[in-house]
């Protein structure tokens, strides 16, 4: 089974996601800010990163971590990233899968919170099966 790193400042939400993924047999680590997440990844590269966008100290820290992984780390550049955020993807003000690109939003897939667990599990298994396809 895979090692999944959840990077989200909302601990309640991260714990629920972790519970679901652990139940599937994955090893899960939660990091509440992106700097700790970067260090954690360098020490032990995960098979998948579940990443939030907005963090208390930086509204675009999630983007930054994704860009760091893709552009500045040989070790981490191929790891699939599932962006999971409460930003509204459907309302035109927000952003979503349509905005994924290698420069601005270099993630592999995108899900909007709140998310149904079956949808989440489906995405996770696909990403772990397919590996990185974007970025």
């Amino acid at each position: 089974m895979a090692y999944v790193l959840i990077v989200d400042d909302d601990e309640d939400f991260a714990q629920t996601t972790a519970t679901v993924l652990r139940k599937e047999g994955h090893e899960v680590q939660i990091e509440l800010d992106t700097q700790d997440a970067a260090e954690s990844m360098e020490n032990k590269p995960p098979d998948l990163v579940v990443l939030d966008v907005m963090f208390p100290e930086d509204a675009s820290a999630g983007f930054e971590l994704a860009r760091f992984m893709r552009n500045e780390s040989e070790q981490l550049k191929e790891i699939p990233i599932l962006m999971l955020t409460a930003i509204n993807a459907k309302f035109p003000l927000g952003f979503g899968p349509k905005d994924i690109n290698s420069e601005w939003l270099p993630v592999t897939d995108f899900l909007e919170k709140p998310v149904d667990f079956d949808v989440l599990l489906d995405k996770v298994s696909k990403l772990l099966g397919e590996g990185s396809t974007t970025g």
């Binding site: 679901v20 035109p92 952003f95 149904d116």
Partner: protein, 531 residues
């Protein structure tokens, strides 16, 4: 749905009232970027901004600081009046000067040609001009071609200004030659210097236009000195009788008076024109600054709305996830009654999330002035296809099919607004349709080429007495609530707000049990585009 002939459908029209906000007359073509893209760009550049100027949210603070430090400040007036034009405007001015110069060249050429016609000049008691009109017009042709070449190849602000100053200097020299041959003091030709003085006041700063005025005075004075004081040049005039004659002291005094009077008039004209021009330019900068602040405020509002939506949705996402854990047995077995409670929690979470989104959209629309937003031209086919794609998922769940007859028409406005408008109408059509129903979307130009878009469903319909209230915020008919509990009752209020902003006439035709048709008549193209 086929209408039943025995009962007529109820009809309600939502007409844009006179006092409602109308699209501004400003053209959208020159306003780069759009509302949503602005927000996206802001996020896309978040890191860049953070590195170079601080976080994006600081941008409005910087704007406010600038506003607070300068209101009514006289120094700003001076600085603004000294500022030049943008490079594109300078290029435009260069081209305009060159076009005008072709006219002058034509006049000089014609005058020279007229001088070649035997007897013509004598008929008007004028002296034959000889070759000077041809020489001056040839110099002007050559220099004009050089200016035009430079205008195309040298496009930085400094190079354009160099081009403009070159034009003015050469023009003044040529004009002085013309003034000399036409008759510097015998005729009123010297007042042609005023063209250059006034134009320089319009196109240059006060200081620069004064330099042009002094250059004009200097060249005119040099001409007069050479002609009348030093007498190194013979006295010239277009008139036959004023040859190279000796002037009495009285006549010379009169000429000297005329000379100083002309210069005095030029200086007064320079003062008035540069002062007026400075006031207009200052006003122009004030307007540009106000516009910049409005755009910055709009961007800030968009950013704020995005983060507010996020902040409000995030807790519900956590509640929803925790409720799912319970519901799906991750925390052990739970009695059926408790499961029902958890299901209700989940349902309300979803509803509240959607409501938050709609409330924010509505609040944003209600407090927004259309004039302050950049508008673009959109083709109805692409826009409607995008909107349909947003509701396609729910449509498939309900077995609803879309029948489309969409012809391309142009809509002018803020893309987000039209997306909100159509997504709300389409999602209502889908949600309130019977299972395996049909939603028809038609888009075509009306009799006056105005875009007409209709969305027709064969759903539950709306009773006649309730039709006038459907656009009220949070209003929902009993029938609608029975059919779908999850709506906030804000969708049509959003539709109404957008319609009012753009002067869109909405006609609703409905029969309970048969379906509803929304017909949207947009203002005719020239009106909607504000042209």
């Amino acid at each position: 749905m086929e209408p039943d002939n025995r009962t007529k459908p109820a009809v309600y029209e939502l007409s844009p009232a006179q006092h409602l906000k109308k699209p501004s007359s400003r053209s959208s073509d020159d306003t780069p970027g759009e509302f949503v893209e602005g927000v996206l760009r802001k996020y896309r550049q978040a890191r860049l901004t953070a590195e170079s100027q601080g976080p994006p949210s600081n941008s409005i603070d910087r704007g406010q600081h600038r506003e607070a430090s300068h209101p009514g400040d006289a120094r700003v007036t001076v600085e603004d009046s000294e500022k030049g034009f943008s490079e594109s405007l300078l290029v435009h001015n260069v081209s305009w000067f060159c076009q005008f110069r072709w006219l002058v060249i034509a006049v000089l050429g014609l005058y020279g040609a007229a001088g070649l016609i035997p007897g013509l000049m004598d008929y008007f008691s004028m002296r034959r001009p000889g070759i000077w009109p041809f020489v001056t017009s040839a110099v002007l042709v050559g220099s004009n071609l050089i200016y035009l070449y430079l205008a195309r190849t040298r496009t930085t602000g400094r190079q354009i200004m160099f081009n403009l100053w070159g034009q003015i200097s050469v023009d003044l020299v040529i004009l002085t030659v013309v003034v000399y041959f036409v008759g510097s003091l015998e005729t009123n030709i010297a007042f042609t210097y005023l063209f250059h003085i006034v134009l320089s006041c319009v196109f240059f700063s006060g200081r620069q236009s004064l330099i042009v005025t002094i250059m004009a005075i200097g060249m005119f004075a040099a001409c007069i000195m050479a002609e009348y004081v030093l007498r190194i040049l013979p006295s010239m005039s277009v008139f036959a009788e004023s040859g190279d004659v000796e002037y009495s002291s009285g006549v010379l005094m009169k000429l000297a008076f005329n000379f100083f009077l002309a210069i005095g008039i030029w200086l007064v004209v320079w003062y008035l024109a540069s002062h007026l021009s400075s006031m207009v330019r200052h006003r122009d900068y004030e307007l540009a600054e106000t516009n910049r602040r409005v755009v910055a405020a709009c961007e800030e509002r968009s950013r704020h709305m995005l983060t507010t939506t996020h902040q409000l949705k995030a807790p519900f996402a956590a509640i929803y996830s925790n409720a799912q854990l319970l519901l799906q047995g991750y925390c052990g077995e739970i009695p059926d009654e408790a499961l029902q409670v958890i299901k209700r929690i989940l349902l309300r979470c979803r509803r509240l999330t959607a409501e938050i989104q709609e409330m924010l959209q509505l609040a944003n629309l209600s407090s927004m002035s259309l004039e302050s937003l950049p508008r673009i031209r959109m083709v109805s086919t692409e826009l409607l296809e995008w909107c349909i794609s947003q509701v396609d998922c729910i449509a498939q769940e309900h077995g609803i099919v879309f029948k489309m007859d969409i012809r391309p028409v142009t809509l002018v406005g803020v893309e987000d607004h039209f997306k909100m408008l159509f997504v709300n109408l389409l999602s209502n059509a889908v949600i309130y349709s019977q299972r395996n129903g049909q939603v028809r979307i038609s888009c075509k130009p009306g009799p006056n080429l105005e875009p007409v878009i209709t969305i027709t469903d064969n759903g539950i319909g709306i009773p006649a007495d309730k039709l006038p209230r459907i656009f009220e915020e949070h209003y929902r008919t009993k029938e609608a609530v029975q059919h779908n509990k999850e709506s906030s009752g804000l969708g049509l209020a959003i539709v109404k707000n957008v319609a009012e902003m753009y002067g869109i006439r909405i006609r609703v035709e409905s029969r309970p049990g048969f379906g509803t048709k929304f017909e949207l008549k947009f203002p005719a193209q020239d009106e909607s585009s504000g042209k």
